[in-house]
């Protein structure tokens, strides 16, 4: 029986496994080196640019209590529907109903991953699966995620969810699965196509106008002009994380 390509692959695989111990250091270094070499070689327009910083501006004065347009759009876009119970179900965005304790003033705000400039989830991830892309979007690389949930512990905004059940019927643009941690991706698959996140789209389509998406680094973008004009704040700004999501009316 002459060796088929499969047999060669099997033999090669065994040899690689056998040499694994010696190659550990190399493997640890290799991705970083390859990414560096690739980043320098590639056409900068085809990768996420460090000149851009994507952000959201949420005008909570336009948020109706009980309105779920952004939440439903996110669940549809990212195929988040699941039969398991609420405590274990993933939430990428949720509507928080607020009441100021001393004054009694009511407010309503959607909360999602704040895409911090200095994300604690990125700091604590042991494998580097939780990372911040060049354009500011904080993501989970589910190829490296081991499901330790340390980032869930670390996030001040409860932005991350753990997938408790097997997932089927994923959106092909949004791979997600059991045992990994996930969170709002700012619809990175849409942003990379030049579109806006699904929540922003839905809010605009419904006419509420509570959510603005754009490039915080571009002084002419709508979001930059708005945050220059009207006061906005970051959630838990005292932590010094510099989130990319800003809120007006809180």
């Amino acid at each position: 029986m002459s060796p088929t390509p499969n047999d060669t692959a099997i033999a090669l695989r065994r040899a690689l496994i056998g040499a694994g111990a010696a190659a550990l250091a190399g493997i640890a270094l290799a991705p970083g080196i390859r990414l560096i070499e690739v980043a320098q070689a590639r056409d900068p327009k085809r990768v996420a640019s460090g000149e851009v910083r994507w952000g959201l501006l949420i005008d909570t004065t336009q948020c109706e209590p009980g309105c779920r347009d952004c939440i439903d759009a996110c669940a549809r876009e990212n195929a988040l529907d699941t039969p398991i119970d609420n405590a274990q179900r993933p939430h990428w965005i949720r509507k928080v109903e607020l009441k100021e304790i001393r004054t009694g003033r009511a407010a309503s705000a959607p909360v999602m991953c704040q895409h911090c400039a200095d994300p604690p989830c990125v700091d604590v991830c042991p494998t580097g699966a939780s990372f911040k892309r060049n354009d500011g979007i904080v993501l989970v690389d589910r190829h490296s995620c081991i499901g330790c949930r340390y980032c869930v512990m670390a996030c001040p905004y409860k932005a991350r969810s753990f997938v408790h059940e097997p997932v089927t019927n994923q959106n092909p643009d949004v791979p997600r699965g059991k045992g990994c941690v996930e969170g709002c991706t700012l619809c990175v698959h849409r942003v990379d196509r030049g579109q806006t996140p699904a929540c922003v789209d839905a809010c605009a389509a419904a006419g509420h106008g509570a959510m603005t998406f754009g490039d915080l680094n571009n002084p002419d973008s709508e979001i930059a002009r708005r945050i220059r004009a009207v006061a906005s704040s970051q959630l838990r700004a005292d932590l010094g994380l510099d989130p990319g999501v800003r809120y007006q009316g809180l």
């Binding site: 640890a28 909360v111 604690p120 991830c125 409860k158 753990f162």
Partner: protein, 400 residues
Amino acid sequence: MRASRFPRIEQRVFWLLVAAGALLTAAGLGAAHRIEERGHAVTGMSNQVVWGVPHVFAIFLIVAASGVLNVASIGSVFGKPVYKARAPLSGLLSLAMLAGGLMVLMLDLGRPERVVVAATHFNFRSVFAWNVFLYSGMFAIVTAYLWTMMERRMTPYSKLAGLAAFFWRFVLTTGTGSIFGFLVARQAYQSALLAPMFIVLSFGWGLAVFLIVQSFIYAWNGMRLPPAVQTRMARLLGVFVLASLYFVAIYHLTNLYWARQHAFERFILLDGGTLTWLFWSGYVVVGSVLPAAVLFSPLPRGRRAAVVASGMVVIGAFAQLYVFIVGGQAFPLEIFPGFSASSEFFDGAIASYVPKLPEFVLGLGGIGAAFLLTAIGVRALHFVPEDDFLTGPTTPATQD
């Protein structure tokens, strides 16, 4: 009186013990398989409480593994002969418990098959990534340390190995405490006190486990621990228990001083239902005050007193860890200071956590693995403490 020969434990009983340990370990593996197959939906953990009972077991085993090495360190580093005789058992227990704890931790991962990824991709800002090296290094160093104690040629190096193990252990337990100490978001955890607190907790928990294991080994081998040795170790455990209580007290008292921590402290110390009960009855009374009273009591105590006190310390350890880990997560994050919040993602609400069977079985599987490794190790390597192991003229008093 010490018997001049050490009758070996009956074959039957040994194999029974091994079978029990193996069964428990297998059950733990089975639970892990179920969790991996169905997802963590079969556990009581949720997006509010992501670390639950398995982590309580795992962190206890890991912290106690570090602390149990104290016995050996006191022998090698501080040169106390009585402890030197117990060093090999202490080293074995350390390895066994570390293995058991890590087994539970790795099996509870969302993707346990990816430990290879964890071992090859490192983000060195993460304490977890450092822990991969600290824990594997601990295995290596303790193994080397055991080797210096077992191999006559290497005995001159055992002090150096002991020193290395002592130092490594401090770094490792600091790392374990810092897992929580580095978390800025949670009111339970944002504290530099946690690293030294875990070190002191490790002293007490490790010694308690050692006393329990030692007493069972002695009983099953028909030996008697000299009362002077027993008293010394018991007093030492008492000191550690009080030191731990001191750290926990400081942690809570400081929190109580800060207005922004009032709600959290009220939750843990007063309002938290099961958590409050566990803290006060479990950790403070059963885990600290009662054992300290027993261990320091000037009244004549039975032979079993130290072991019972150790058992209470272990119970208190589990209670404290449960309150620390689960309580820290159950209390809601403060995302909007000055506002009361509510949402369908349990913002502003105390999370409820009801652990389910697979979690307990997985945790017990870790204990089973540690037990199995210890039983086999003690039997195969003759790690029963021999008080005439010493080469010097000092022998402990054995008057009854």
